[in-house]
Amino acid sequence: MRIGLITPEEREKAFKTPKKPDVIEKQKLNVRYHVEDYEVGSRPRRFLEAFAVILKHTNYRFALEHFIRMSAKCARCAVQCPVYLATGDKCDIPCHRSELLLSVYRRHFTMGGMFRGRLFGNGYLTDDEIEEMAESFWNCTACRRCTLECPAGIDHALLTHLGRFILSEIGIAPRALVVSTREQLEGATGNTSALPVPALQDTLEFLEEDIFDDKGVEVKFPLDVERSEYLFTPAVSDFLMEAETLMGIAAVFKATGGSWTISTNYYDAINYGLFYNDRILERVIRKLYAEAERLKTDSILIGECGHASRTARYFVPIHCGGSKAKPVYNIMEYTHKMLEEGKLKLDPNVVTETVTYHDPCNIARQGWLVDKPREIVRAFCKNYVEMKPNKTENLCCGGGGGSVSIDEIRPYRTTVGGRAKADQIRETGAKYVIAPCANCKKQLRELLEDQEVDCEVIGLHDLIYKAIIFNDKDINKPKPDKED
């Protein structure tokens, strides 16, 4: 993997702060994202207090202990981090990023550190250090590629995650994420896009009509059907931006006769808590799970979205009853199962263009969904090419870790974070890049536009929608002639 360094002009664009000087002055924070006003005074003390409380009630301490004992400073991780390879800034080396937090931990929360502090003095945490963390932890896309390469087993994404958690407890978190989450948890619409129920219903009716027009098949989006097998929850933004993905999913359910429902009470799987705060993460998970309980569905099915799938899959058991909790699946698992059981038929002659598949970090890195999506694609796409590296070693789209939702850092995401990805996609020469994740889709579209790569970003179910073959009995009217 080779990534060219950013040019000085690109650097200037990528790292330009969008904030006015007086805001920076007032918030004492020169970072590239907007932050809501917060209590600025005695920041270091409050940081340490928040750190202490978090250590007390969570499981982070044992990992921090292990990491400080193990850290070898061997710099192996440097060659795996797309961010460092693009900026060439030493402070972007994963081990350095982690050390920002580990050194605070070592100084203030270990016996040795406190002892040394007494003897030689090791300085109290400073405002500058806090600002450096606030910048650095949002440079990282939490893609966890570096973790593959660290012999000491240091999980930098976990440290980024913890660092952001502490910062957010003292009020430093990207405004874009906080505002959306506030609407999701406390607002009138109850979702991150502030999409009201009537608009949702309109959208779905509209999609139903569209499908009928396209395919001559009556497909319903079932709403609030109790005791369905699956409570289907996509990233709410899909209702606004990914019509074809949803149509594809509805079509798959129609063709396979699956029992599913969408709730009009809560229809957003986005969980920005994963990106900045564990308490938010927990609240969103519990809200989602409460909905599955209310509608008495057997399980929860998340749409094409990496972080939403990962949070639901791994945190529903944590917060909602361990192994007894209702299972969580990703939509691709359902589709794959139907394909395997022969219930889903796809026409291999529809999609003839070259397609490639982008692995979203959140579902691929730990090896959860890597082969199944490929088997689905191979079942009907003749011209399938792989990017390299791929699967568990994939490269992040550059918008990971919630950064894609922060619009003001687009220049950073598309010149630094996604630089390697753009090259990778360009090399395949593919017409379509499949990205089964709401975040990746948004980031890749912006990336390919800014980097001028000629390739279309598409969801897996968008492609399936093109190629799906319905049962004869479902077709009410002859297919309209294909437009050429």
Partner: protein, 234 residues
């Protein structure tokens, strides 16, 4: 001189060896205890044991890495470690000493291999040190212990090699032997308190990463209450 040698190879050896063993035991037990505590508190106890296990094996025997990532560095590191681990434990002279004092003995390295591995450890240890000096990334990250360790580790190998192979005068033999033993003992004492503790912690790493993502259930209220933020909105 002989008295000094007797002292360092007798009581001092026993003391430093004990410090190492107890220190490593403490580190290992603390690490394991932390992991156990985290496991106890985890809201979901289903771990990917198999995956963590296979990754652990891959890291303990990182042969495949030579062909995939950072080939030169991986190769140097492996060749360095092989001798570093095998020679002190299986060198004939060492085993004989153990047998004399404790009656225990075990398999020993043939002389040729002991020599060869000693040389590879010296050479690749120095190469790793050079690598650290040359790589700007490594220089940026390194603490002083990171430079000192490869040098310190090589010292007993060099002095040991001299004692075992060179036709040197008894006086200088004693000097080298003294260096050999003292440097070894210094290493013993430092191991548990520095990054070299990875010699016992390494096998836990992959399990710890996967366990670290298993958070305790329902922390929101607890953290909120302790911070006086309970019920406060987003």
């Amino acid at each position: 001189m002989q008295q000094l040698l007797d002292f360092v190879s007798g009581p001092l050896f026993r003391l430093t060896f004990l410090i190492m063993i107890l220190g490593l035991l403490r580190t290992f037990v603390l690490d394991l205890w932390g992991a156990w505590d985290a496991y106890r508190r985890a809201g979901d106890k289903k771990l990917a044991w198999g995956d963590a296990f296979s990754k652990t094996i891959q890291w303990l025997f990182p042969v495949r890495r030579v062909f995939t990532r950072r080939p030169l560095y991986s190769l140097f590191s492996i060749l360095f470690h092989v001798g570093l681990i095998l020679v002190p434990i299986f060198y004939l002279g060492h085993v004989q000493l153990w047998e004399e004092s404790t009656g225990l003995s075990w398999w020993t390295l043939p002389h040729f291999w002991a020599d060869l591995l000693t040389l590879t450890t010296i050479i690749f240890g120095l190469l790793l040190f050079l690598g650290r000096l040359i790589s700007s990334e490594a220089r940026y990250l390194s603490r002083s212990q990171d430079y000192l360790w490869p040098i310190l580790l090589v010292v007993p190998f060099v002095s040991g090699y001299f004692c075992a192979n060179l036709n040197i005068s008894p006086a200088s033999y004693q000097v080298f032997m003294l260096i050999h033993i003292l440097s070894g003992e210094l290493i013993f004492v430092l191991i548990p308190f520095t990054k070299i503790a990875h010699c016992v912690l390494m096998p836990l790493s992959q399990f710890i990463i996967s366990l670290a993502w298993k958070f305790p259930a329902r922390i929101d209220d607890k953290i909120g209450a302790t911070m006086d933020k309970k019920g406060v909105g987003v």
